[in-house]
């Protein structure tokens, strides 16, 4: 199928056709309005919600992440300061004293004691020559004469001149670090001063960060070995299960899932001059709790808004489309009504013209025939007098019939003035029935009266109502067979209206007949009906401000219902 065909199909399905009056038209209208309204309300709302969410998330994260980074950096600086200080002491001693002084066990012990008073955490102090032999030592261990030449740290200090060890467990199973400085004397002799430092101070520094019980902070080295005990991730010298970006970019914050499966925010600050890094771990959910709360509130708000919009749109569209449909129907009804009235009035005018024109020749025929009759009956001894008089009588009778027809036609066309008076419809119906008594008694038709006793008197025109009921009742009587029935019911319809129904069990009418019964000259009484009775009746009832309804089933009978206003409008 080509693109064009698809487009046509889409157009047919989506757009309205002005001349299309089927229910589909309103379905399509309803659907289009709903889609359009939902789109123009929900799309901006969604965009707003997404932007809001993104902006909020960014600012809240910044607000939470930044203090984390700052705290980590600050503490890292404390660590570096501490290390730098210890390194400076060792370096100063190495510079201030000659190898001879330091080789002397007593001098070394004195220096160590002074240092212990001023600086915490020193465990021991020792002098090692370039061959790796411990020349002197002061501290809790007996390390004099120990050879370090094969150890890694010794190699490094010889090459780089300074060495800071990772944390290790000393002989007393306490975590320590060792600091070593290579001193090159002028005369070419070099020596190494090595100090061991207790890392309990590290714990103090971490404690000073004041972290909450669900958070963790520790030092690690480049190999991810814990240098201080961790609350969640193991003891000193255990391997840290978290992974960090390599390289030195200053303090960074990353999100990570720890081995317990918790989502953590991890602040990572590598030291500038050593292989350590300070790590601060906080549960992400805890930190972003406020954000999650806000987000779920926002989401709830969004969902409720969308649901409400959809409900309102549906309800509103239903109402609007229903109104449109009702308006269309009313308009169509008014058009039909107007058309009908137009038809009746134009036919009426035509009829009046015809009737009037025919009246004069009729009058002439009437007089000529009358004269013929007069001549025969007054004067002549005409041979076929009897026959002649019979003929003139038939002419006069026919003229009389024409007269009736033209009079009714003119009556139909004329806009008679209505004389209103207060009258009792029940009484009026009985009077009309009296006129027709001969006909229904003769044919043995059962007249069933069901007249409301408390029927209010109404303001209307007696003569015209008589004509209305006379017409409807004669129709009913002529529709029923002998032994049939005609039932007349009156009731109080509502505050302004009374109803009169005239029901018969006669031959009924076809739908085709029913469509035309109020049109002038439409008759089923071939040969003797004028086809004006119901047209006049309808005209009168409408003019009196009432309404005339008819229901009929072929073979089962007809019901005429006349609704009359209790009071006149003017």
């Amino acid at each position: 199928m080509t693109l064009k065909n698809w487009k046509e199909r889409f157009d047919e399905g989506f757009f309205l056709h002005a001349d299309d009056n089927s229910p589909a038209r309103y379905r399509i209208l309803r659907r289009n309005i709903i889609i359009l309204m939902i789109l123009i309300t929900i799309i901006p709302l969604t965009i707003m919600a997404v932007i809001n969410q993104y902006e909020y998330e960014r600012s809240i994260k910044d607000e939470i992440v930044n203090p984390l980074r700052t705290l980590t950096s600050k503490t890292k600086h404390s660590f570096e300061l501490f290390m730098e200080e210890r390194l400076a002491i060792v370096r100063s001693i190495a510079s201030l004293y000659s190898i001879e002084d330091l080789s002397d066990q007593k001098t070394l012990s004195r220096i160590f004691r002074v240092l212990l008073n001023e600086y915490c955490c020193l465990i021991d102090l020792g002098l090692i020559d370039t061959k790796g032999i411990q020349l002197s030592y002061t501290g809790p261990y007996d390390l004099l004469g120990k050879n370090y030449s094969q150890q890694d740290w010794f190699q490094e200090v010889v090459v780089k001149g300074v060495y800071i060890s990772d944390v290790f467990m000393g002989y007393r199973q306490f975590p320590h670090i060792a600091i070593a400085i290579l001193r090159r004397a002028e005369e070419g002799r070099s020596w190494i001063l090595r100090a061991t430092i207790d890392t309990s101070k590290f714990d103090d520094l971490i404690a000073s960060m004041g972290i909450s019980p669900d958070s963790d902070a520790f030092l690690i080295n480049r190999e991810m070995i814990l240098q201080t005990p961790s609350r969640f991730y193991g003891k000193v010298l255990d391997h840290c299960p978290l992974s960090f970006p390599t390289g030195n970019y200053g303090a960074i914050v990353v999100e990570e899932v720890d081995p317990q499966g918790r989502e953590m925010l991890v602040a990572y600050a590598p030291f500038a001059k050593s292989d350590y890094a300070l790590v601060l771990v906080k549960p992400r959910s805890k930190i972003l709790q406020s954000w999650y709360t806000l987000r779920s509130k926002m989401f709830l708000f969004f969902v409720i808004s969308v649901v409400m919009i959809i409900l309102v749109v549906f309800k509103l569209t239903d109402t609007v489309v229903k109104r449109v449909q009702e308006a269309d129907e009313r308009r169509e009804f008014a058009f039909r009504e107007m058309e009908h009235t137009q038809k009746l009035s134009s036919i009426g005018r035509l009829a009046a013209g015809v009737a009037h024109e025919i009246n004069n020749p009729m009058a002439i025929i009437n007089e000529k025939a009358g004269l013929m009759k007069d001549l025969v009956s007054y004067k002549s001894q005409f041979l076929e007098k009897e026959k002649f008089l019979e003929l003139t009588d038939v002419i006069l009778q026919s003229v009389e019939r024409c007269r009736t027809i033209t009079h009714r036609l003119l009556g139909f066309a004329r806009r008679m003035e209505v004389k209103f008076e207060v009258l009792d419809v029940n009484e009026l119906l009985k009077e009309v029935l009296d006129f027709l008594e001969k006909e229904y008694l003769y044919r043995n038709i059962d007249i069933r009266l069901q007249l409301a006793e408390d029927l209010p008197r109404i303001s209307s025109d007696t003569g015209q109502l008589q004509q209305v009921f006379m017409n409807v009742l004669s129709n009913a009587l002529s529709a029923v067979e002998a032994e049939g029935y005609v039932s007349i019911t009156t009731w109080d319809e509502d505050l302004d209206t009374i109803g009169v129904s005239i029901q018969d069990n006669g031959c009924g009418m076809s739908e085709e007949t029913l469509r035309h019964i109020f049109e002038p000259f439409f008759t089923t009484k071939k040969g003797y009906g004028t086809g004006l009775g119901l047209a006049i009746t309808y005209g009168i009832v409408k003019k009196l401000g009432g309404d005339l309804k008819v229901q009929s089933y072929e073979g089962h009978g007809t019901t005429f219902t006349v609704y009359l206003k209790k009071k006149t409008n003017n």
């Binding site: 009037h356 009246n359 004069n360 009729m362 009058a363 002439i364 025929i365 009437n366 007089e367 000529k368 009358g370 004269l371 007069d374 001549l375 007054y378 003229v399 024409c402 007269r403 009079h407 003119l410 009556g411 004329r414 008679m416």
Partner: protein, 121 residues
């Protein structure tokens, strides 16, 4: 009772002549006119006891003629013939002073009855 002298006015000559003949047969003295002017001339000249006047006439209409009759000779009764169903012109004519009105085509006996009534009052 003496048959009164009457004037028939109608633009249809055939109608007027035939009706005149019929009335004549019944012993009336009948004058005829086919327009308003002729009618007024005859009234002045002959002084009929009753006038039967068609409402619908070309030229001077029946109601106009009626008014002139009523101003000139208010004592002569006028019976109108109308082509219309019943009320409008008839009632208007009665208002202008006509004795009664009849609807065309007329019944001659009815006309005679009305004329006799009109003359006797």
């Amino acid at each position: 009772m003496t048959k009164p002298k009457l004037l028939l006015v109608d633009d249809e000559e055939e109608f007027v002549d035939t009706l005149a003949e019929r009335l004549h047969l019944r012993g009336f003295q009948v004058l005829t006119a086919t327009d308003g002017e002729g009618a007024l001339r005859l009234i002045e000249k002959e002084l009929p006891q009753v006038v039967v006047l068609d409402v619908m006439m070309p030229g001077q209409g029946g109601l106009e003629v009626l008014q002139q009759i009523k101003t000139r000779t208010p004592r002569i009764p006028v019976i109108l013939l109308t082509g219309h169903g019943a009320t409008a012109d008839g009632i208007e004519g009665m208002r202008l002073g006509a004795y009664d009105y009849l609807v065309k085509p007329i019944n001659i006996d009815e006309l005679i009855k009305k004329m006799l009534e009109a003359v006797s009052t």
